[in-house]
């Protein structure tokens, strides 16, 4: 199996190297054939792994590939851990990646950087697989930073665009702020468990309960709380949780296929995956869980609100992603790890679908992204329209769609949870349901229904080619059915037994499970819940606002402009960061350089002492020839004198 798992991870890397270094020689067609072949192989091998690990009950694979380094008694290794959680992630990653690879043939058709793009997305797939398949913190961090780097390269793929190269630097730096916490968390784990291996760290976890460390003065902190919060700061960067969410909306400057793959389906969920993987540690610190919960709840509600005022089709979906990541984080906070992973999976399908559908619309509109200029497109592009509808219904959690199962479980779990902060979080995720329904269908109606607002663009719009619509259809299927098919095993069954640990004291999923009697009754019951009515209220509001009485939004706008401006300014996060962190750092740097280095060290000390010597030696000026070798000569003479003094005195 070692060979198979190695091949699963490395096939996309080999393809990426081929397309990246020899892309020109290979040509376009061969480049995409090779990279698609690599990812397809990975997908097939992942399916095989699924049959072995999940269906065949093969033992958990946990072996190292090679020793990276040994220092002291700490071994740094590279290796794989393949259990049911890993296999689920491998399937999601390789499937979405394969869809995006195929879609890219159509989307990037006319781009001069065609081969480079394929090389990047294959490299990304490799990095993401290394991340999810790791059995230790070193490789986790490698994958973590590698996906961040490929994301950097892809956001800045159109390197001439000033906004793109600003966005990619911003994304990398904000992620690095998260990684700052992450690396310290890893350092803490290595310090207290003396190992980087997951299994060792998890086994040592319980023995750390009650152990404290001092950080500020005499206040003692629980070691486990410190570790978990530091690790979670890493997750906040990668999974774009407030206040480290600011990079994700800007990342939409990159080409749409990567928005689907990296900034919706896979990379941004790495933080969620990581926390779920670390459940044996997080379960030991209620404080850390509470922190996770509050951050997630804030993100889920307030980032969704911003989505309401966005007019760029991709940005609406981006804010929706932020909000959905918030839902997943909330699930982690209430110890519903399986629900978080479940929502991660369903979200990966329907959000990738929504992004790719948005991309299809963008092609049809000749790279116009403003939804106010669209309308009525359902006639022109029926496949895109229909798959979008499926994606949107899944997103708002319409019963029987896959998003319904995952989202409803999260909301129920929050309701059942007794973690401090759960009651506030409940209102956030509940309110978020209305917001989600509103921004989703606002976009849906503005794009596909009503009268065309730009007749010229409408006349030229047409359905996208097969390579674009095929992935849409293939993603629409799981968006529709995957939730109902798997909810009873993944969330309420024993799928994650022995992988995810939940303390009896706050097992919120168990509480929900007591009302669960199969997927169909669950979904049927979904039609009579307050959550459903709230979502329908959101949809109906958009029907009124954007189909029946289009005057209302403008009227509300004139009355509530203040709130709109707050949302349009994104609560001022960007302005604050720019003013305080960006400009502040530059100001500080200038001060330290001009005042510290130039004025004090060089001006006063170095050149000052030189001048001082000069003044004192004014009398002996004639000895000073200004020739350096005279000075050096004098130094050597002086040395000789000193030497003789040492030897003979």
């Amino acid at each position: 199996m070692k060979f198979i798992y190695t091949l699963t991870a490395f096939a996309p890397l080999i393809a990426a190297i081929a397309a990246g270094f020899f892309g020109k020689r290979l040509g376009r067609t061969n480049s995409h054939r090779i990279t698609i072949g690599g990812v397809a192989l990975s997908f097939l091998l992942s399916c095989y792994a699924f049959t072995q690990v999940v269906l065949g009950d093969a033992p958990v694979f946990d072996e190292s590939l090679y020793t990276w380094l040994i220092s002291g008694d700490i071994r740094f290794e590279v290796g794989f851990l393949v259990d049911k959680l890993t296999v689920l992630m491998m399937l999601v990653v390789t499937f979405v990646s394969l869809m995006v690879h195929i879609y890219t043939i159509g989307y990037m058709e006319e781009d001069p950087g065609y081969q480079r793009f394929f090389a990047y997305i294959s490299l990304f797939t490799f990095s993401m697989l290394m991340l999810v398949m790791s059995n230790n913190f070193l490789q986790l961090f490698f994958g973590w930073e590698a996906v961040g780097t490929v994301s950097y390269l892809l956001i800045g793929f159109w390197y001439k665009k000033e906004t793109a190269i600003f966005a990619n630097m911003k994304a990398f730096l904000v992620n690095r702020v998260g990684d700052f916490g992450f690396v310290l968390g890893i350092a803490a784990i290595v310090m207290y468990t003396n190992s980087l291996h997951y299994a060792d760290a998890f086994a040592a976890g319980p023995s750390l309960v009650g152990e404290t460390m001092s950080i500020f003065g005499n206040a003692e902190w629980q070691v486990l709380t410190v570790i978990c919060i530091l690790l979670f700061i890493g997750a906040m960067g990668k999974s774009a949780q407030a206040p480290l969410h600011v990079w994700l909306p800007d990342s939409m400057e990159g080409p749409t296929p990567i928005s689907a793959l990296i900034h919706a389906a896979t990379m941004v969920t790495a933080g969620i995956f990581m926390v779920a993987r670390m459940s044996p540690l997080f379960e030991l610190s209620e404080t850390a869980l509470s922190f996770v919960l509050i951050i997630g709840a804030f993100t889920a509600f307030f980032m969704g609100l911003i989505g309401i005022v966005q007019n760029d089709i991709k940005r609406v979906v981006a804010y929706s992603t932020l909000s959905q990541l918030g839902y997943m984080t909330v699930a982690l906070g209430v110890s519903a790890y399986s629900a978080a992973i479940f929502h991660l999976m369903t979200h990966a399908f329907f959000k990738a679908l929504l992004f790719l559908a948005a991309g299809s619309v963008i092609i049809a509109m000749h790279h116009e992204q403003d939804i106010r200029k669209m309308g009525g497109l359902w006639r022109k592009m029926p496949i895109t329209w229909f798959t979008s509808l499926i994606g949107s219904l899944a997103l708002i959690g319409f019963p029987f769609f896959s998003g319904f199962f995952s989202k409803d479980v999260i909301i129920e779990a929050v309701h059942a949870s007794n973690i401090p902060g759960a009651n506030i979080a409940y209102w956030a995720v509940f309110g978020g349901v209305f917001v989600t329904a509103f921004y989703s269908f606002r976009m849906f109606f503005l794009v596909f229904h009503g009268k065309p607002r730009d007749q010229h663009a409408y006349d030229h719009a047409q359905e996208s080619p097969k390579v674009v619509t095929l992935p849409l259809i293939l993603l629409a299927i799981p968006s529709l059915v995957i939730g109902g098919l798997t909810v009873s095993t993944v969330v309420f069954g024993n799928y994650f037994d022995g992988i995810i640990f939940v303390d009896e004291a706050h097992d919120s999923v168990k509480e929900v499970a007591s009302h669960f009697h199969g997927a169909i009754p669950f979904a049927l019951h979904g039609f009579v819940t307050p959550v459903f009515f709230t979502a329908m209220a959101g949809v109906l509001t958009t029907v009124v606002f954007y189909l029946l009485a289009p005057g209302i939004p403008a009227f509300l706008d004139s009355k509530l402009g203040f709130f709109r401006r707050i949302l349009e300014n994104k609560y001022g996060f960007d302005d604050f960061n720019q003013a305080v962190f960006a400009r502040g750092s530059i100001g500080l740097g200038k001060q330290l350089w001009q005042k510290g280095d130039v004025a004090v060290i060089d001006g006063a000390l170095v050149n000052g002492s030189a001048k001082g010597v000069g003044a004192l030696a004014g009398v002996a000026r004639h000895l000073q020839s200004g020739m350096l070798f005279h000075y050096a000569f004098a130094m050597i003479i002086g040395l000789l004198v000193m030497l003789s003094w040492f030897f003979f005195v």
């Binding site: 090679y66 020793t67 990276w68 380094l69 040994i70 220092s71 002291g72 008694d73 700490i74 070193l138 961090f141 490698f142 973590w144 930073e145 590698a146 780097t149 950097y152 390269l153 800045g156 390197y159 001439k160 000033e162 190269i165 600003f166 630097m169 990398f172 730096l173 690095r176 702020v177 990684d179 700052f180 690396v183 310290l184 890893i186 350092a187 803490a188 290595v190 310090m191 003396n194 460390m213 950080i215 750092s585 530059i586 740097g589 330290l592 350089w593 510290g596 280095d597 060290i601 060089d602 000390l605 170095v606 350096l628 000075y631 050096a632 130094m635 040395l639 000193m642 030497l643 040492f646």
Partner: protein, 496 residues
């Protein structure tokens, strides 16, 4: 075979021959010498005995018996990687100046060969006076390289460079002579065994500090480095950053720690504080540089802060009985030095590639270079990522080890050190954004030609080493375990 003597003298004599034979065939001759030097240094790695901390490939001869000064060479696991680094970088540097240098090429190439031999001498001398002579002698070729082929302010830069570093090392000589008077031997390993009282230890520590802190350089005696780099020709900058700075780090490991461990232990808080200032303060200073070479010079100082940090957290960890942490810190410091050797050389050579075409080092003179030089842009982005400590590149390894070790010493040490994750990425990627990405900035950039075959191999070989060390640092790690263990045993015993 006397491999070490060959590695020291082959380039020195070869360099003299290059100078003597004149400009006509100087390039292939210098390349041949550098390749031959690399080849004779390789047995040091492949024939290295991993199990012993003792000096290997030892050669001894009486030199000045009247003063008990020996010609003694040898390497252990700390010195050997630095020797290989020196000979490797030397080949790359010769390739880098191939058609670039037009003014007196024989003298230029010869000076570099001589300097390589002298630097190998520094890392392999077992006699303190021999070490001192090599240590000082390396200044002469570098002085000439900056002074003759340097930029417009080369006179100020060379004098600053020379006086700063010369003044520092004079104190070291006094300390060495004092140690000789105490123990009757100039052999460095004998000095490791000396019992020294508290007061003299303190003064000896300060004398060594003066020499090595200036060399590496530590804040606040670092201001010679940006000036020297800005004025130095490309190849000079590469060697200065890649190897000469490491003489300071090596000095701390070879002299300060084992000879005066008690004083080092007493001073460790001070050393840790100024190392962290180097990491953070200099990180901010690098952010606002307008000259690419200055930016990379400041980045070097910040990275060297990690080296001294990794070395001096050892004492606090020893008191906690955390031997693993001590090894992580010390080995991290050595890995950081090797890695920085490749990355800083590559960064300076990248700036050189652009400078050769546009004749400016100002960031504002560029913009959108990747439009006309895609291959070069890829290299530059790769090395920038390595400079920012991306896992998978060598730049990550040492920093990661030192952060892990720092956390074991004190949360705040790790906290401040880890700020480099953000700061290092900020100053490097901001430069990349302004220089490499964007629309074509001006006509000079529009007229750029991508890297030629020579430049491709020069940058490509460095990239290969950066990747190799990043993906498999154990290649260096394994050779130093025994020696580091030995060093730990030295510093854990009081010398009073």
């Amino acid at each position: 075979m006397p491999w070490l003597s060959l590695t020291v003298w082959l380039p020195i004599i070869g360099g003299l021959i290059v100078i003597a034979l004149g400009d006509r065939r100087s390039r292939p001759l210098a390349l041949g010498i550098s390749v031959l030097t690399l080849l004779v240094s390789l047995p040091l790695y492949f024939g290295f005995d991993l199990s012993t901390p003792a000096m290997q490939f030892v050669e001894r001869a009486n030199w000045l018996p009247g003063f008990d000064i020996e010609y003694a060479l040898g390497v252990d696991g700390i010195a050997m990687p630095l020797v290989i680094l020196t000979t490797l970088i030397n080949v790359v540097v010769v390739i880098s100046m191939w058609e670039v240098i037009k003014d007196r090429p024989a003298l230029y190439l010869g000076a570099f060969q001589i300097m390589t031999g002298l630097m190998v001498g520094v890392f392999s001398a077992l006699d303190a006076i021999l070490f001192y002579i090599f240590f000082e002698a390396t200044l002469i070729p570098m002085f000439l390289i900056i002074g003759i082929w340097g930029g417009p302010r080369r006179v100020y830069a060379t004098i600053k460079f020379f006086l700063y570093t010369f003044l520092g090392s004079v104190f070291m000589l006094i300390a060495l002579i004092y140690l000789y008077r105490l123990g009757g031997s100039f052999a460095i390993e004998d000095m490791h065994q000396l019992a020294i009282a508290e007061k003299p230890q303190f003064w000896i520590f300060l004398a060594f500090f003066a020499a090595f802190a200036v060399k590496i350089p530590m804040w606040p005696v670092h201001t010679w480095l940006p000036d020297a780099h800005v004025e130095a020709p490309t190849a000079g900058s590469a060697v200065l950053a890649a190897i000469m700075l490491k003489m300071g780090g090596y000095g701390f490991l070879r002299f300060s720690l084992p000879i005066v461990p008690d004083a080092s232990s007493q001073m460790d808080t001070f050393m840790i504080v100024i190392s962290l200032i180097a990491v953070v303060y200099i990180g901010f200073v690098a952010l606002v540089q307008r000259d690419m070479k200055k930016l990379i010079a400041y980045s070097s100082i910040s990275h060297m802060g990690f080296v001294t940090l990794g070395i001096f957290i050892a004492f606090g960890l020893l008191q906690k009985g955390d031997i693993s942490g001590v090894a992580l810190g010390l080995e991290g410091a050595i890995v950081q030095m090797i890695s920085h050797g490749f990355i800083s050389a590559a960064m300076f050579l990248c700036v050189g590639v652009m400078y050769d075409r546009v004749h400016s080092r100002e960031i504002s003179a560029y913009g959108g270079v990747i439009n006309t030089m895609p291959l070069f842009g890829a290299f530059m982005v790769f090395f920038a990522m390595a400079n920012a400590g991306l896992p998978g590149t060598s730049g990550f390894v040492g920093e990661f080890m030192i952060i892990l070790a720092g956390f074991r010493a004190n949360f705040w040490i790790a906290f401040l050190a880890a700020m480099t994750l953000v700061l290092g990425a900020a100053y490097t990627l901001w430069m990349v954004k302004r220089v490499i990405f964007g629309e074509i900035g001006n006509d000079n950039v529009a007229a750029l030609q991508d890297v030629n075959r020579r430049e491709f191999w020069m940058l490509g070989s460095l990239a290969a080493f950066v990747l190799l060390l990043g993906l498999w640092p154990d290649l260096v790690g394994r050779v130093m375990h025994a020696s580091v263990e030995n060093l730990v045993s030295h510093i854990s015993i009081s010398k009073y």
